[in-house]
């Protein structure tokens, strides 16, 4: 996999989220994602960035345009230094929430993205990575 471009954004406040979403649209537009792909991609990112704010106390997102052979996509890495996730299996279940929300953020983001990875260490933080490929592959 090759990284064509990379930028980092701190997301700690609501204005940061709005700016971040704008960035996502630009990137999605630049690689010519379809409306549906863009909607899924930005919705997944919206869930993950909210998790980062609500649970992680804010953090950093890396936005990368990536290629893998003929494939073109966007990789997002959400990194926080929050409390981490105690039980990842539980967190990946639909409906499970520690914040009184709908509990769809993590499993939903995984369904909406093409690739998903989660690493977390309780007491140290959480890193979630997703890749959305143009043309879904």
């Amino acid at each position: 996999m090759t990284t064509k471009s990379s930028e980092r954004a701190e997301v700690r406040t609501e204005p940061d989220v709005i700016a971040f979403r704008g960035h996502l649209r630009e990137l999605a537009f630049r690689i010519e994602m379809t409306t549906l792909e863009q909607t899924k991609f930005i919705t997944a990112a919206s869930e993950l960035v909210r998790n980062m704010l609500v649970h992680g106390g804010g953090g950093e997102v890396t936005l990368e345009e990536v290629t893998n052979g003929a494939r073109v996509g966007i990789r997002l890495t959400f990194r926080d230094e929050g409390p981490g996730i105690a039980d990842i299996t539980q967190a990946m279940q639909d409906g499970f929430s520690t914040a009184g929300s709908l509990g769809l953020g993590l499993p939903g983001a995984k369904r909406l993205a093409n690739e998903f990875d989660l690493k977390s260490t309780p007491g140290r933080g959480t890193t979630v990575t997703i890749i959305s490929w143009k043309n879904g592959r």
């Binding site: 609501e14 979403r21 909607t39 869930e47 929300s101 769809l104 939903g108």
Partner: protein, 126 residues
């Protein structure tokens, strides 16, 4: 619109604004005694679980105030994404556009008045 309120959302709402919409709308229903609320979202390209929850809340809260809410104009990409997200929006009525939304509102409001809405068979005859 007479007894109805029409809310047209033309941007992707961020969280604080969505919460403001929720509380403003409920207050407005209470103050005006509106019987129906139409939320027009054809300009909304992002509905995530937070926004979905707001729409669900608005539906439930307005129902407590004797009003019915219908969400109209959902973008197809949004509908597809919501299903994949796993957000079913139970209790949220939807319609394709304002015209159909109004028809649905009138139907639901008259149904609540005659007790036909989701009524269980009540055999009170002696």
């Amino acid at each position: 619109m007479g007894d109805f309120l029409l809310v047209t959302i033309q941007v992707d709402l961020y969280d604080r604004l969505a919460l403001t919409l929720e509380s403003d709308l409920i207050r407005l229903v209470s103050e005006t005694g509106a019987r129906g609320v139409l939320i027009e979202i054809s300009g909304v390209s992002l509905v995530d679980s937070f926004m979905g929850r707001i729409l669900g809340n608005i539906s439930s809260m307005t129902r407590l105030l004797s009003a019915e809410t219908v969400v109209v104009g959902m973008q197809p990409a949004v509908a597809i994404t919501l299903v994949e997200l796993g957000l079913t929006l139970p209790g949220v009525q939807t319609a394709l556009n304002v015209e159909r939304g109004l028809a649905l509102l009138r139907q639901r409001i008259s149904a609540t008045e005659t007790g036909d809405l989701g009524a269980t068979a009540d055999d009170d005859e002696e």
